[in-house]
Every structure is written in C-alpha cells, then in structure tokens.
Assembly symmetry: D3
C-alpha cells in the first residue's frame, strides 16, 4: 500500500521531515512518502497562502500514480474537498484526523496552533467536523511556522508553556498540535504533560492506512464526484484531467 | 466611489453581464465595473474549480487600483477570506449578501442553485453565515452554468418550475438564486411567483456601496490582517505583495 | 425614495439625532426622516419597555404614507416581525444590520451595549440572526441610555474603555455599538481603536436603501403575510388596518 | 396558593374556559382564576397581535394583587420576559411548559398549531427552550382560533386528522397542542391516538404550582430585574410601577 | 397518588433524606417514598458508577407496584431512558427538572456539582435538554458526595463560596445544585445569595406529581416502547419482565 | 499488539463472527480477538439492554490482561465513557468510528440501523460526535438483530432495499451500517450500490490499531480519570478495581 503525504508548501526540509515521520509509523507493507508542489508558498499561515496551497495539493494529486491514499499535511486541511473530487482514493486531512483522535481519547481538548492568525483555520475545521463543543480553546504561540522548523527546541519550550496554560486554564484533557512538522515533539510533550498530545500527520497516516486496508474509497456520488473537464487555461491548464 | 465586481471565472460574456447588471443598480456617483482573471476556468461548479477561482480573485485584487469595494460574483463566495486579507476595502460575497437580504425579507427561504453538485457550496455558506435554520431547502436544477448563460429562456423555465416546488413543498417565503449572472431573471420570476427573488450580485453591490459610503473597511486586526510577504514562486510569484 | 427611521421611544431629541444622522448617509435621491410615537417610554432598556416600544413601532407604520422602507432604531429590534407583517415595504432592524455588516468586515466582533441588563436583547438577536458564534462577547457599560444622550463625552470615554477591553480580552476584530444614537461616536472610536466600529442605524439605512432600490419587498407569503383584521379595542383600536 | 392564568386576548368565553380548566387540575389549597385585558385583540394569530397581547399581559400583572404565580395562556408565550421583569413571582408560559413536559414523556414530538401562520411562534419558542431537535415537525390546521372555540367538534376532527399524519409521517411519539383553550380535547385525543397529548395550559398550571410550593421565585438579578420606573405616557402611563 | 424517588446508590441515609425531603413538598394526597437498590455503589461520581446505578434503577422499577410516577435522584439522570422503557408511568430526572425550572426562573444559570469529574455528566444533560446556551458555567466543588452527606456545614460553606463566584464571574442569575441530597441547603443558600437556588429532587417531585395529576404517561410509541423480553441471564435474569 | 473486540451481548456466534472479521483486517503483528460477558442479554435493542450491556463491557475490561486497545462492538457505543474510565488503553466505539470514517469519505451519509426503535441510539452518537449535520437520515429495517444473524441473505436484501431508498430520497453519498456483525455484507453492498458502505467494527479495529501504534492512550486527566474505588456490592462487587 502506498500512502502519500502532501505538503502544500514548498519547503523541502519540511517535506523530508513529513516523509520520515510518516514512514516511521507505517505498518509493515505500507510505503509512505511525501511530496510538495514545484511552486507556491514556503509556509501556510493565512487564507491567501491556503488558496495557493490548495492549488499545490491539486497539482500533486494530478502527478501521483499508483497512490492508494493521501494525507494532507497542513493544519486547516486546505484543498481537502477539492482533493476528494480529484481522486477516488481516500484523502485524510491532518486536522480532521487530529480532532477525531482527540475525541476518542479525551472529553475535552485544546488546540495549540501557530502563529495566532491561524486560529481561524483551526476553528473552521472544528465547525466542519462538528467537534467545536469538545474543544476547550484554540490557543496559539506567536512564532512563524518556518522559525519553528529552524529552532525545534524553542518551539518545544513555547508549546510546552502554552500547553501548561491549557491544562490549568481550560481544563484540557488532551492537546492537539496545530501544525504539521511537530511529530518529534509528541514524545517529549507527552512525557512532560502526562496527557495525550496529538499530531495530526501521524494520526492521518494511520487513518488513511486503515481506510485503504478496508477497501474504502472516497464517494463519487454527489458532492465529491469527479468534476467535468473544462477548458482550464494558463497555469491551471492540465491541473485537472478528470476521472 | 468605485465598486468592482470580480467574476472568478474566465467567461468574458459573463463578466460583461455582471458589469451591466451591477452598473444598473448603482447609486449616482458610484462607478461599477467587472473583471475576470486572465486564466482559470470558464465556470465554477466544483471544489476544484473553486480552488482555481480563488486564485483568480487574488490576481484581480492585486491588479486593482483605486477600487473602493469589491463584490465576489460566484455563488459559494470562493476566495472571500483570502480577499479580505489581501485588501483593506470591503469585500462582499454574493452568497452571504443574498442570505442576509433573504433573512431581512422572509422568515424562511429556499435556495435554487445549479448544477446539483454545487449544493454543498450553498450549504457551506449557510453554515458560515449562521443562517442554515432559516433555509428551508437547497434545491438545484440540473443545468451546467454555461448552458444557463447560453439559453436564458430555458434557465428561466427550469428555475420557475423549481421555485414553484419550493413554494409548495418547502413553504418557502422567498427564493435565493444560487448563481451569478441571473439578475435579468429576477423581475420575471418575482412577477410569476409573487415572492421576493434574491440575486446576490446586485444585493452585494448595494451592500458594498453602503459599507463604503459609511467609511467602513475590512478589519486588519486578527484574522484578516495583511499576511506577511514571503517567497512565493512560480505562477504565484507576485500574486500577493502585502499591504 | 423615502426611508423612514422609527425611533420606538418618545425622546424627541433622540429622534432628531436619528433623522440628522440618517440623512447624512443617504444617497442622492433618498429622503430620510425619523419619527417617534406620540406616547410610550422615553428609552428602551428592559423587556417591559420593548413591549411598549413595539406598539409605538406599529403606530408609526400605520401613520406612514408613501414610505419606501423603514429602519427600526432600537438595539434589540423590538417589534421587527410585527412591523414586517404590518407593511409590504422592507423593514430593517438596526441590530440585525449591524451584525450582518460586522460579519462582512471581521471574523469576530464584540458588542458593547448599555445598560448591562440589555445584554439579553443583544444576545437574542445574535441567536435570531445565527451570528452568535461570530460574537466574541456582549459587553455593556453601566450607563442609562438617556444619560448617554445627555453627556456624549462621558459616553465616548466609557465606550472607548470598554472597547479597549474587548480588543485585549476578547480578541475582537470589530466593535458593534449596541444602542441607537451613537452615530457621531463612530469616527472618534475608529480613529482611536483602529478597527471597524459599527453603528446599526446608519448601516440599516444603507441596507434599506439598497433593498428598496432593487425593488425587493417583504414577503407576504407565510410568516409575514398581512394579518387578518379583527376587532381591536381600546388604545389598540385602529392600530392595524390590514393590507 | 393563588395561581392566575393570564389570557392575553379579550375573548371572555376563552377566559372562562381557561379558569374552569385550570381550576380542574389544581391541587387542594390552590385557587386558580383567569383574567384577560380590558382591551386588545380577540385572538392572537400574528406578530402584530402578539405585540398587542404583550401589553395586555403587563396590564394584568399590574392589576393583580396577592397572586403567587402566573401562567401565560397563549401559544408563543407573548410577553413572557416582560412579565418576568414586572413581577417577582414565577411566571410560566404555556408553550415552554408544554415543550418541557413533552421532552419528559417522549423522545420526539410534533406540535399542531393553528392557523398555519403561527408556526413561526411555535418555532421561536422551540429555539428559545433549546428543544428544536426534539420536535419532529410543527404542523398546523387551517382554522382561525375563534372558529375552533365556536366549533369544538370540528376542531377535534381536524386536530385528530393532523395528529394521525404526525404519527405516520413524523414518527412523532407525542403531540403538543399549539393553542390555549384545547384542554377538553386532550382526553378524546389521547384515547384515539394512544400517545401523550399535551396541553400547555394545564401543564403550566401544575408547573407554576410546583415552583410556588417550593418557594422559588423569578430571579431579580440581571436580565429579569425590576426595570427602572420612567415617564411612561399615553395608554402606557401607569402600566408599570416598578418593584 | 404515589410518587417514588429512586436513589440509584446504596447509601441508606441518603435514601432516608430523599424520602423526607420529597414528602415535605408533596401535595395533600400525594404519598412520596424513596428506595435504593439492594446492591451497587455507595455513591455515583463516575461513568462506571453511573453504569452500575442504571441497573439499580431498573431493579427498583421492576420491584415497584402501584407507583404512579418516579423521580430519579442522581445528578446526571443515569438510567433515565431505560427507566422510561421499563414503565409506563412518568419518570422525571432530577437534572432535567432542575434545568427546566432554572430556565423558567432566570435567563442564565450556573450549575455547581461535585466532585469536579462529574461536570461531564451535568454537561451531557445540558446538551440533551437543549439548555446548554442558558448555562453560564458548570462549576464544581472538590468534595466527594459522601463527605458532603457527612458534614453538611462544610458542604454549605463550600457551595456558598462557589455560588458567590458564579454570581461574580459568570453573571449567573440562578444556581442549580448538582447533586441529590442537598435540599436542606436551598433555604440557607437562597437567603444568603438572593437568587433562586434550585434543587432538582424537589422540583422533580413536583413535576412528576403534575404530570401524574394530568393523566400524562410516558409514550409507548417509538423510542420508549416496552422492549421485547429476551433471555436475560446471570444477575440480570428477571431484571426486566416486559409490559 | 493485542486489540480486543468487546461484544456486549451474550450471543457466542456473534462473538465468533466479530473475532473472525476483526482478525481479517488486522495488520501484520496485530492480534485481534473478541469476548463477550458471561451473562447479560442476547442482543441490544433498547435502552434497558444498553444498560445491561454496559455492565458487560466493564466486566470484560476488568478481566482483560495485556490488551493494548479495545473496540466496543455495539451500535450505540454502550458503556464507552465508563470503559474509558476503567482502562488507560484506547477504547474505540464502532459507532463513532463509523461516523468519523463516513465523514472522511462523503459529505453526507445515511445510517441504516435495526430494529426501528434503535434509531434513537444512532442519533445520540451523532449528537455526541457532532456529526448530526452530516447525516441525511437515520433509517431502519424492521428486523430483530438475532434474525439478521440467522438469515444473512434476508438481511442483505432488506439492507440493500433500504440503502437504495437512502440514495434516492436522502441524496446519501455513503451508507453506515448500524449494527455489529454485518462485516460480510460490506463487499456485496458496495458492489451493488457503488458508494462507500461503512462497517463500524472493522473501522474501529483499524482506528484502535492506529492509536495504539502511535503510543496514544486515553487521557487520565479529568473526565476519564480512573474513578476512586468504593464499596461495590452484590454482582457489582469487584467489577471495578481501580487503576
């Protein structure tokens, strides 16, 4: 089985981390890799960048052959519905996966995202998944995504400090990490906090693997049916070739 | 005052209709025009095409100088949050505007969109605007957007037939038209049905005009603050130049 | 076009301010005036006074000839549904208009009403418009409505102080003013705060003007159909004369 | 203990029926009577008439001495919040009481109101009580309130026919009667249908009796605190004299 | 009329208190007693104990003859739906009854439960009754249920302190006591706080009495129909004998 | 890794099927078995039987040693919260797992449960998971659970007929099977219908396997913390021995 993680941003180091972290949790017989678009934005921290990233997701789905399931590795799940139209194999967003896992492990969780302006993306997926009432609070640390990649120790310290506030002030029973690329921090954070710490990327890999192993595919009846092919032009020509 | 209607698809005839219909409702002193992206998709009937259209919206905002307010003329309001980040002037989506107007004229309304697979877009905006409980039903006619443009008489007949079902089966008190480009059908439909028929494009023009005339602008605090400028690449290079 | 602002309370100075502030934002060709009932309550700060004010609204609609659209200028929109039954022209409540405008300018807003006991009215309209999730908090300053009219400088200081709390504690991105008569404070508040400050009266005037200019009218099918005329007695005799 | 039923309309025969039906269910030691306003509307079937009826409610509370609890006997609970401000004793609306009782007897109920335009009132109270999800459907029979009073046999037949539809089509497990004055139909309907049939007036009498017997009173902290007394004028002068 | 209070825990002193407090509020002609299961758990402070308590509820319903209505006296209403299947007479949960009463007396209330881990039970019933939006906050004091029984003065002090926080921080207008057995504290708390303090047990007794006196019974159509009798085994053999 | 499926009913043939179907989807290195309680009810089709089944779940958790994750195999997830208190390893309900999977594969799904009276259980979990808005309709076939086991061909025919109604009438894009033991019908149904057909048992096995492989455990902070051990008596003595 081949599960492909799509990193909608263009930062190659990020993509390599995702491939490594995804492969580390794959079952025997599952091949996990990660790809990122040829052009776009180095990180996704705004609605503008979400719009750009969504195109990257579609480009990568178009260019994937023989993949059995996709994981979208951007908190906010940009492009998820479009991706479900563009392919028949399961597509799992890291955000929805993280929320579903949190809901199976705790009655009440807090999210820690970054930077603060992206809280609105986390909240949008809470509404879409119906789990807003289970989320005590969407918190954020004031750190750009790429700085977090550059200095994991600082990221860990900032996340731990914010998570401690979530336990103390929100009565959170679990913590959802609101960004891709944080898998290596899960262990240290769980050890320090004593509550489940949920990384959506690895959870999504396991959920995609599960759906694929059961022979489940994205519904092609109704909302996610393959769209009709039309005269796309410019950089979008060829972006989508139909079923 | 300059209000610009953004048509996120590439069909020029559509853009010309929007300009004509928008200008027809402008107050004295308001100049209304309509633009569409240089490349993209000829109509928006899927999540894939919404993703493409959102980029077109950003391209057109980048290329607009001296505009006082924007109207997004695509049912589903693709790219609306990104547009609000990309500019400080008001941006009004035709879908939200149509729903808000319907809520001020009737206790309960039905939406008629096209083709059927786009109902999910209409429903998404109902949830986002909080007006889902006021919508009796999202209906659809089985007609591609471009066919509707090509044969307005057939579109009128199909919309009237569906609207009559909405009155009879849904107890609808008003009808929201779920597509741009239908402004000329409002009069005939209201005459035939005897209930308010709401076209989001013209309503959005008036709402944008109103916000601008009051000196109101998009909040730049928090969620829609101008995003940081980063190294965008490929077709996206230069798409967003910051505040 | 004639837009009439209905002030449901009996304070004439208030009515004069509304007429002046409404006329100042009207488009060329729009005549705006304001009326208030011959008897009733000098301000509306309770459910009891809302009940009294609703009768005043109906009295003024009965006595209006040749009006193209009404604005209800009382935060809480008392009598709005009854007004929609009593006339075929559009009726816009200042509260719903303020919330709809806020939702088009910011992802998240706070309301500042007065005095504190009226928060329940602001919350009722949030539920009715479906925008409760977009409101971070309904705040209040501890000042009677008529004192605010008497001492605008004190009102401005109190509102600014509370608005600063809304920005700091609620992450509000815009402020909705929860009382009629505050239009002159919008400019100073926006200058001081740097976020949109929304006055429902002027927004409602523009929305009513927009609906009228599009030929839209209140639906007379179903919930807001003209009620049957019955034997009203006492002070209510003649209050409603049917369609 | 003295429980007073307030009939907000002016039809004396209606008031006599309410007194009789209320007294019939009172516990030993509870005195139940019914009053109606000196002027107003003969029945309440619209928002306009609700506004008139609310004033009647306040008039009757002002004129009541030594009453231990009130019941509002109009489906839609017009004036309920104002009544709670105007008195310290418990005030129970027949609509909320009916819904709460239905929720304790069945998982899912349908409401049958009359005439059809009053469904919006029933739905408003469903939202306010939070029980919308428990209501399968708000149905209506096409009969004016006063005709129902005049011809109870026809009313029974129409209600039974509609209730049978509710059982067959809505999977309703109980029926809520959406109008005051229907108490005598409960027995025949329960016999014919085999499910609970709930009359809000008698339920509200028992709930008010229960609250009073426990020494519970309307909260005077916050939303329902006695409003300040101001210069009410015209027919409203003296309507409210404060605590 | 015979109303029976079911205490789902095995602490006999608790059961005696419930019988005493329930009888004290009964109308003339109503006999109130209280029962508890022969085996189970001495108090209910967890989901595990709720599961055990639900079986106790069924055992006591099976063993009751000639009872006209039941009250479940455990905050969280464990076993309520099963009880409604197992009997045709009304069953009122103390939690739902407390919330319904609070909603009739105040616009906004806080709950004080104990110990903190049981907040989730209080919240579950808020969702089920639809009254979550009316509850400002579910608070808890850190005291085991049995300690509260053992030292009422300490319980009173802790509850009063927490209630004062609810008034100051939550703007609560009424307090709901989140545990059975606290009836004697209602008077002192109301005197000290000046707002309604609601004890679900006594409210439920009065609501059950009301439903019974009106001839209302649990619906046997659909969700609460008597279940089919099957081969129950072990300690469950004979637990349920059908209608 | 050892995943144990808990069948809360006592029908051994059912348990054997669950073990077989669960083992068939396990990854290499995962051992799946299934257990059922020594006494209880042969099937769970009512709230009464849910209460009995919940005790069986606790008995089986108490008696399990060395298990890494549990799956509850009863539609309605009886005993799920209690199970999460009673163990530190992940516990996944088949109902929540089915809904989460459906939400990742389709925008809108229908549930088919059996017999009709169990729809209320399916709806309760829809509310708890927040996915009610994604479910078009909860349907049911009129067949007892044990008959379905006895005659799979008849069950398949009935489920297919109902699923075809779900596609035609509900616009369902996927079907959730509302009962354990239906795994063998998934393939034939998917072939016949052309949409995803979701069996919660196998989905839950994969989700539990995923959570365990990631080192995630049930939160022991707050709501699901191990309850204090008390003096349980009778058949419940020893049911729970604490952490």
């Amino acid at each position: 089985m081949h599960i492909r993680i799509i990193n909608p941003n263009t930062t190659a180091a990020f993509t390599r981390s995702l491939a490594r972290d995804g492969a580390a949790v794959a079952a025997a017989g599952t091949f996990v890799d990660a790809v990122s678009p040829s052009s776009g934005t180095p990180s996704i921290e705004s609605h503008v960048e979400e719009a750009i990233g969504a195109l990257g997701v579609l480009e990568m789905i178009r260019d994937s052959v023989g993949v059995d399931g996709f994981v979208l590795a951007c908190f906010g799940d940009t492009g998820l519905s479009a991706a479900r139209e563009a392919t028949g194999v399961p597509v799992v967003g890291m955000t929805e996966a993280a929320y579903f896992a949190a809901a199976m492990l705790a009655a009440r969780f807090s999210v820690i995202t970054l930077p603060p302006r992206t809280r609105i993306h986390a909240e949008r997926v809470l509404r879409e998944t119906g789990l807003a009432a289970r989320c005590a609070r969407v918190r954020a640390i004031d750190l750009p995504v790429l700085d977090m990649e550059a200095d994991p120790a600082a990221a860990l310290a900032a996340l731990l400090a914010e998570a401690r506030l979530a336990l103390a002030e929100d009565d959170a029973e679990a913590i959802v990490l609101g960004c891709a690329g944080l898998t290596p921090l899960v262990g240290p954070m769980q050890d320090a906090l004593g509550v489940p710490v949920i990384d959506g990327v690895t959870v999504a890999v396991k959920m995609a693997e599960g759906l694929v192993s059961l022979g489940l595919r994205t519904s092609k009846r109704g909302s996610f049916d393959t769209p009709p092919v039309k005269g796309l032009t410019g950089p979008f020509a060829g972006l989508f070739r139909g079923g």
